[in-house]
Amino acid sequence: MSELLLPLLLAVPLAGAVLLLVAPPRRGERLAVPFGLAVTTVTFLVSVWVTVATPETDVEWVPNLGLRFHLGIDGVSAPLVLLTAFLTVLCMAYLLRVRPEAGRLRALVGLLLLLEVGMLGTFVALDMLLFFVFFEVVLVPMWFVIAQWGDDSVPGGRRRAANVFILFTLLGSVVMLVGMLLVGTKAGTFDLTVLAERQGAGLSHTVQVLAFLALGLGFAVKTPMWPLHSWLPDAHTAAPTVGSVLLAGVLLKMGTYGFIRIAVPVVPDGARTVAPWLGALAVAGIVYGALACLAQRDLKRLIAFSSVGHMGFVLLGIATLTPVGLNGALYANIAHGLITGLLFFLAGAVKDRHHTSELDILGGGLYERMPRLGGLLAFAAVASLGLPGLAGFWGEMLVLLAAFDPAAGLSRPYFLVLMAVAGVGVVLTTTYFVALVRRVAQGTSFEAWRDAVLLRDASRHELLVWAPVVALVVVLGLWPGWLLEASDPVVRTLLGGRS
């Protein structure tokens, strides 16, 4: 029974998507969202079940490729699985009342369910090729979500944004595949548990460096790491609210998760050689993201660029190659998923009401016109900048701490410099988020918005959808221990007992 549990986790949303595909169009359209909500809720319950039961599945799929259907869950993947299932439920709940203008709910819900299959599969795959397959599964559904339900507020339109997204990611992942094949053929297995145990034994230094570069390119595009981030702002800005939430909340994590699950443990030698470069690019991303945010004129774009900065912290944590750094990276991952997910929900709500997300047109006075929405936006902004007591704080603090004392073999003065620059990034991040709150929430409303009839404050339905995220952000901010306790032993194994 227990070996069927993880396949069940993937089968539920997949079956839901297939059912929607063959459903009669009229009725399917009407029932799509409630049905999607039911399916994702069941998936979420299964994800809680697998988190508790930690089952494993390992059967042969394509022996000629050495591809095994090997799924498992541990302290590193469980939080991400829960986050994925949780955010997908919220997206469905959100769609219940807030319908996208483009309609076609049956197709949208079906694609979101397929997306969920890919996201969950990526986090539970314990075979490199299987990971690759799931990594690719998300591309086409997300492409459709952006291209069909997005809006044309970005240069070149939503179609171009979607194309740039999929072509960038595919380029990265095909190179990643080459890296995986390189490791797989040299090591004779694609199994991640075996490869992690070996810690790169039997792979020469050159192979390890090449493999890390190839794998890293795929993960870095997805994360995204500066300077490979250029697909991200347009994709986020153009995507519909639910698309942005899942893109920022989950899809980006697939990249950093790949670093932790595959690149670092499988080719540790390569990781040690490339880590200083990775750290430098990570810090560049932190500073670049913050500076870009200061210059943004669009709310959704600003949040998108803030992701580049936050992901910079995650990458810096990984680059230290210490348990503290990796734990911090994972924590920051989850925190970013929740907070940025919330930010995109809020930005989407603002945009739906004003039909624009340009800061100059929005003007100030959100507190005045919509106190609840304004308050939530301020809350999410201070959570994102890393206010102690909220979820965003711990991950970034741990990362800075890890950079203070990087793994043996990495130059400490060098990482101290990186830490200092990242510290500057923290200050800049605080600046732009405070500036954002001042610009949008405080002050008085423009005349145009005063008399607008449609500008209702956050509805009860919206508050109900967002409340669990807010609660989790507070809980993770006050009690970080339980998540770290779960990930710490696994991280130490992945690092091969190194400290």
């Binding site: 490729l65 197709a107 086409v140 194309n163 072509l167 595949l177």
Partner: protein, 495 residues
């Protein structure tokens, strides 16, 4: 010793039946009343199915016939049925069957002469079946020409269409030139080794020889002929014009069955006959592979005509199929050949899937532009899904897992053998390829242009032969996406 050779009739049953069937259909058609012309097509389809059945008793065996006694060693045989042969013969029969199903309506609607059409098709199929089993230079060349010659006529069969004649002429000229070059190369090989059997050529080439430069030249020239069949750069120019000018099922035949025949010939020649020179020909094949996929993909980006796009895409796909052969410089042919075979098989399934729907759409929209596919997902959900799935497979992206696995197999060869640059070139090409497949696939699900104000465009009436072809290819693509192992498990027993 008897001078009369023993012939193993079971081994040659399939090509023999197909050849006789071709003659039979030609005669039958002459005696059929005009109202019953459709019978010829059905007889052809049934006969091909029987030919497929004749392959079954050969599974798991190695049969050889038309052998010369070896002096002390093994006999040298001209016709060998082994795993490699059977896999390709099954592909040829299956692919031809789908093409025949698609042809039934085309022959009727375009008023093509049914008897001649199916006779030519079967003649070409007989050649392809023989090619897969031939193990000497002469049989190889004759079989290759038997595949090609009827194809010229098939392409030109729409006599009223000047585009058709032009297409046939292009095909003919390129074919003649490349065949001449190949014959020159093969005669050099014969002159230098004194052998025609591939196994003996390999043995002769394995010994160090003073005439090495001449051998390299001969091998290079010999490759040209097959380069034409598989539409590899620089012998690819005929493909787009010919595919577009030919009846769509014939284009499907050329792009799948005839191309597969070219690949089996190429694989036999390179890996059996010229194996000792792998370190010489493999880098050349690698360059051709890189050029072929790049040219094919870049040209496909700019196409607006469905069949032309598939033509360029099939050029690009040929490049992927050549990649494993281009990674064989280390001489590890046993490792790379299965990759090429696996990709050819997967390609046959997914490309036939795409061509089936393109044929169907072409019946209703003769222009067959990509524009004509807008909104197909609303009026013809199943056909649109079949096409979208085939395109996803060709792109190698989930849900098209068949194509994804095939690409993984191909990628593994250069990575394994240390030809990293080829893997990187292919990686870039896969990304370029995605763009046009995706553009096409999304057109299917875009809103249909209802400029005429008619609202929903009328849905097509799908004849059951078309439905069978689409259903069978889609079924195969779905099945092999979930369980690709049967396609990948052909480590052919070389010699």
């Amino acid at each position: 010793m008897s001078r009369v050779q023993e012939i193993d009739y079971l081994a040659i049953a399939a090509p023999l039946l197909v050849a006789l069937l071709g003659l039979g259909v030609l005669v039958l058609d002459a005696f059929l009343p005009p109202a019953r012309r459709a019978v010829a097509g059905w007889v052809t389809a049934a006969g091909l199915a029987v030919a497929g059945g004749l392959l079954l008793p050969l599974v798991g065996e190695r049969r050889a016939t038309f052998c010369l006694p070896g002096d002390g060693g093994l006999p040298a045989c001209s016709y060998v049925v082994d795993d490699l042969t059977l896999v390709f013969q099954a592909l040829v029969v299956g692919g031809a069957l789908v093409c025949v199903l698609l042809s039934l309506d085309t022959v009727r609607d375009s008023a093509l002469p049914a008897g001649e059409y199916f006779f030519l098709l079967l003649a070409s199929v007989a050649g392809a079946l023989t090619l897969a089993a031939s193990r000497d230079l002469l049989t190889l060349v004759v079989a290759l020409e038997v595949v090609s010659l009827p194809a010229f006529a098939l392409v030109a069969l729409r006599r009223f269409d000047s585009r058709s004649s032009e297409a046939a002429l292009k095909l003919f000229l390129v074919s003649v030139v490349s065949t001449a070059v190949m014959l020159f190369g093969l005669s050099l090989v014969y002159g230098l080794t004194g052998e025609v059997h591939l196994s003996r050529i390999a043995a002769a080439l394995a010994a160090p020889s003073a005439s090495e430069p001449a051998i390299v030249l001969a091998v290079t020239l010999a490759l040209a002929g097959f380069g034409f069949k598989v539409a590899a750069v620089p012998f690819h120019f005929w493909a787009p014009d010919t595919y577009q000018g030919a009846p769509v099922p014939v284009a499907a035949y050329l792009s799948v069955v005839s191309k597969a025949a070219g690949f089996v010939g190429l694989a036999l020649l390179l890996t059996e006959g010229f194996a000792p020179y792998a370190d010489r020909w493999s880098p050349a094949v690698a360059v051709v592979a890189a050029l072929t996929m790049t040219v094919g993909n870049l040209a496909a980006l700019r196409q607006t005509h469905a069949v032309r796009l598939l033509a360029w895409s099939s050029v690009a796909q040929s490049g992927y199929m050549l990649v494993p052969l281009g990674s064989a410089a280390g001489g590890d042919l046993g490792a790379v050949l299965p990759a090429t075979i696996a990709y050819v098989l997967a390609y046959a399934v997914m490309n036939l899937g795409a061509f089936s729907v393109v044929t169907l759409v072409g019946r209703h929209r003769p222009a067959n532009l990509l524009e004509d596919y807008r909104g197909l997902g609303r009026t013809e959900p199943l056909s649109a899904f079949a096409l979208a799935f085939s395109l996803a497979c060709l792109a190698g992206l989930p849900p098209g897992l068949l194509g994804l696995f095939a690409k993984v197999v191909v990628f593994r060869a250069p990575v394994d053998q240390g030809v990293g640059w080829l893997a990187v070139v292919m990686a870039l090409n896969v990304v370029v390829g995605l763009y046009y497949y995706l553009t096409w696939a999304t057109a299917l699900y875009a809103r249909a242009p209802d400029a005429a104000g008619t609202g929903r465009p009328p849905s097509y009436r799908i004849s059951w032969s078309d439905g069978l072809a689409i259903g069978a290819t889609l079924g195969a693509a779905l099945l092999f996406s979930l369980a690709p192992d049967p396609l990948l498990s052909f480590p052919p027993t070389l010699r």
